[in-house]
């Protein structure tokens, strides 16, 4: 894992529909590894490196959830719309940046309602707005349609990585690390897809261009946190291998078998329906694409303080190495 690079990726604003700076960095990294890169008109980044054996597609989405300016009121308070599934509860007093003609820092203003009916309710969007402190002057720098991202700085402590956008930049870093540490002759295509958070749009558009034999999709899943509910995974228990209609059963079982035999820590994530990831969409690509999923458990998903255990990411890299090694033969 290249922690420095992940710190950069976590801080880089790349909200759905505005991923250019992220894909530019990734293009540079892939070209260093002899991939030839191409962007489609939607923004998806495709990279191919010729090899032998089965043609394997490795995929991760590069966009993150965020916000967009929807209105500037007469006093300069900025109303916004969510882009992707934001957790509204973390918004009050949040430190944000509006990417306008210049970067403008602000906070999400939450005025507790005096209304007894609303007292213990968490904020709804129409009670929230952004305060930059500049009043109507903010219009010099900010317009409707500008993107807004979290200003939280990522950090590492006790072997855990904390920061915004780890969904899905952590997976992006796992993918890059795998390519950097593993010597392989496999015939590989990398797809860094855009706009996953608003409906797997990038993957949908990419479908018609894909002709691989097998796909491995890297995304994140729910890490067990303080108030645990069903369907969460231990951070530190290893990446979660997906099972269910969203994956090709034969390959998923093989992946579990490989992980067990190679003593790679892993967990199994059973999903009876859509996985909520690009895998569900990519299975339908071309003439049908066998797909498996490797998901990193992260806590506090879709907040600026997402967290994962670096050991899980290292295990994911090992798992990719073992599987690609076996399947490319």
């Amino acid at each position: 894992m290249n922690i420095e690079r992940l710190l950069t990726l976590s801080s880089m604003p790349g909200i759905s529909g505005n991923e250019e700076s992220v894909s530019a960095l990734l293009k540079t990294e892939l070209e260093k590894l002899n991939f030839s890169c191409e962007k489609d008109s939607f923004g998806n980044l495709f990279a191919h490196r010729q090899g032998s054996g089965k043609h394997i597609l490795l995929e991760a989405h590069i966009d993150q959830v965020g916000m967009m300016v929807s209105e500037i009121d007469p006093n300069g308070f900025v109303r916004f719309s969510p882009v992707g599934g934001l957790d509204l509860r973390i918004l009050p007093s949040q430190d944000i940046v509006i990417h306008g003609r210049r970067e403008v820092r602000g906070t999400i203003c939450f005025h507790p309602s005096e209304d007894p009916e609303n007292k213990d309710k968490s904020p709804s969007l129409n009670r929230l707005c952004i305060d930059t402190g500049f009043g109507i002057r903010v219009k010099e720098w900010v317009s409707v349609g500008d993107y807004i991202s979290f200003n939280t700085v990522p950090f590492v402590q006790n072997g855990r990585f904390f920061g915004p956008a780890l969904d899905n930049r952590a997976s992006v870093e796992i993918l890059l690390s795998f390519l950097e540490v593993t010597e392989t002759d496999a015939d590989l295509t990398v797809l860094f897809a855009v706009q996953e958070e608003i409906g797997h749009m990038g993957a949908l558009i990419a479908e018609s261009k894909i002709s691989a034999d097998l796909a491995i999709v890297l995304d994140v899943t729910f890490g067990q946190s303080h108030n645990d509910t069903e369907g969460t995974f231990l951070c530190g228990g290893g990446p979660a291998i997906g099972m269910g209609p969203s994956v090709a059963r034969k390959y998923a079982l093989e992946m579990i078998d490989i992980a067990t035999k190679e003593h790679i820590p892993h967990q199994v994530e059973v999903m009876g329906g859509s996985s909520g990831t690009d895998a569900w969409t990519l299975q339908l690509a071309g003439c049908g694409l066998p797909t498996v999923m490797v998901s990193l458990p992260i806590r506090y998903m879709h907040t600026p303080v997402e967290q994962f255990d670096i050991k899980d990411a290292d295990s994911a890299v090992s798992l990719l190495t073992a599987c690609v090694g076996r399947w490319s033969l």
Partner: protein, 344 residues
Amino acid sequence: MIQKMSEVFGPSGYEDEVRELICSYLPEDCNVSTDGFGNLYASKKGKSASAAKVMLCAHMDEVGFIISKIYEDGTLGFQVVGGMSTSCFLGKRVIVGRNGLRGVIGAVAVHLLSEEEKKKEIPLIKLAIDIGARNYDEAKEMVALGEYAAFETAFSETEDRFCGKALDDRLGCCAILEILNRFTPENYDLTACFTVQEETGVRGAIVAARVLKPTIAFVFETTTCNDVPNVLPQQQVTQLGQGIALSVADAYTLYPHKLREQLVSLAEEDGIPVQIKNQTYGGNDCGSISISNDGIPVAVFSVPCRYLHTPFSIASRSDYRAGIDLAVKFLKDLEKHVWNYSNN
């Protein structure tokens, strides 16, 4: 200085680091001491022996948290120190303890909640500070029960605006530091008192007033500024950028009219922008000082501050400067202006 003072760690009960930082900014000609509760005093004696003792007061502490439990999964349960609304806790970075340990305040991912649960505010008991410990034992190595925690927010200043945490009341402390560095009294004693535990009930000031027995006291604070959407003008308390705020009354204190009126007319003389708080809630160290000893005339210079007691407050540099300029103007000719009850 304002940046460092905003960013320094100092919740009520552990103001040590703030005290140390303030000491590094005090001018050489100050006599420095602390009392048994932790208040910091920096005094300048006037050139002639005089009965007048002027007190400048600001509190060093900020609202924060205290670690009350270590859970099996390595996360930390906590209580609130000072008054804060839990609605601003989730998804924020914090510093824990004396060694700059970082943490985040988290809860269950929103995707896993029912529609009902999504609408409810999370109760404090369900929040936890996550420092990256994998289990109870690891957490115990990293932190002890009773350690304090506070929000971590980078300070920034753009155009006329300050953004940061703990502007309440580090802006007050900074104002006093600027006054001390800029002004030395001729004929009276000036003592700056940086109090502790204001946020837990204006406690430090109770001791400070007894120790100093001032003739008159000026408190430098921040105050509510609610000129935000959905708040009627009459409920806004103050407005950002409209000047330093003076008070008629608040929850703890009725401020002497004549003193306030003098301040207003001095401000008018020099075109210093001033506004009057238009609500009577809130309180500050004046609450303890004004009723101490035989009763002390007090006035408060409050910098309007949006989003007090949250991780991200906004204040105006020109409001802050107005407070300093007005205070210095008053202090320069204090004997002319000094007003006490018997001089009615």
